[in-house]
Symmetry: C2
Subunit: 197 residues, 2 copies
């Protein structure tokens, strides 16, 4: 509960703009009660940030496993999952992106380890598709950064009740991401195959 | 000078985590001197935010004009310019992205008007390429959001002195963005033309 309230406040005013006192007050309790669970604001931020990236990683692993072995299906599933997560959890996405600076060095390293795992899920899938000839992409590293950036940015503009549902947006982004990594059915038919130079 | 110092502090601790007193102190002066130029922290933030988006818009307009009439050249020039701006002005990019929430309603509207102009530059170019048959893209609106997101995210990971120069990164991103909007020389040769449904 403290984490939910702190997340709200960090999203509204930033980590440095929110005090433990503010958090306790919004949670309807006092600072000493909050101290009992979180000895400092830094502990609270670490706990929030790790829980955000851990649940994203878990969702991506699940989506990837359910998609099976085909790299195209797996890549699409990963992009869809990124988009859905960021459309549905906008506050988490915003705080996760803006308060990495406010973590202590050790906590930041812990979060980055999970980010790296997330990146690796995409990289392994893209590499598999390059090997199989399903993808054709001259700059795989930049493509992965791009796919991660575009899908997480959905959190910055998505509004509930807008024209398109998160599922529709996720579908469209998966299609755009496939274009970017050179998944082209004509190319496959022509036997052009993987470049990946 | 106050704007530069305030930008630094906002990037480090956020708008709500930085006081006018902090800003004056880091600028080596006192609050009354700062008040003379900026009657409030909100005025300072508005001025910083508008100057960031205005200079981005100006750079994009220049790049687009220099690229001439060909939509492919213009689209590439816009993406390159976005990447270069975000690699070279990381603090501005971070504050521009994270402190939109901290602007008053009117100032936020002013900034969004400029954002909309930026989006329109990309949209007009993409539309021209769809009409000419140079691009083939089922979801132009989502493609533009994606291109803006991927190129501005360069600010979050680019490090000076890394393996690739900003120019190389800009070139690669322009290529990836072209792939995403379906610029395919084979398709042009086949006369497949624009879809843009």
């Amino acid at each position: 509960m403290f984490r939910r309230v702190a997340l709200e406040l960090f999203a509204e005013r930033g980590f440095h703009g929110s005090s433990l006192r503010d958090i306790a007050a919004r949670a309807g309790t006092n600072v000493s009660h909050l101290y009992y669970y979180f000895p400092s604001k830094a502990h609270l931020l670490r706990s929030i940030m790790l829980s955000i990236v851990d649940s994203l990683l878990e969702a991506l692993r699940k989506a990837s496993a359910e998609a099976g072995d085909d790299p195209v299906a797996r890549f699409q599933a990963l992009v869809r999952c990124m988009v859905l997560f960021h459309a549905e959890r906008q506050q988490e996405a915003f705080v996760g992106r803006s308060e990495l600076r406010s973590l202590g060095d050790e906590a930041r390293r812990e979060v980055i380890v999970v980010f790296d795992e997330i990146t690796r899920l995409f990289k392994d899938t893209l590499d598999a598709g390059l090997r199989s000839g399903a993808f054709r992409c001259a700059y795989p590293a930049e493509a992965i950064f791009s796919v991660l950036a575009m899908s997480s940015a959905v959190a910055t503009w998505y509004r509930k009740g807008g024209v398109n549902s998160p599922t529709t947006i996720a579908e469209r982004y998966a299609r755009l991401a496939l274009e970017m990594v050179g998944h082209d059915t004509r190319a496959e038919a022509d036997g052009v195959g993987a470049a990946g130079s």
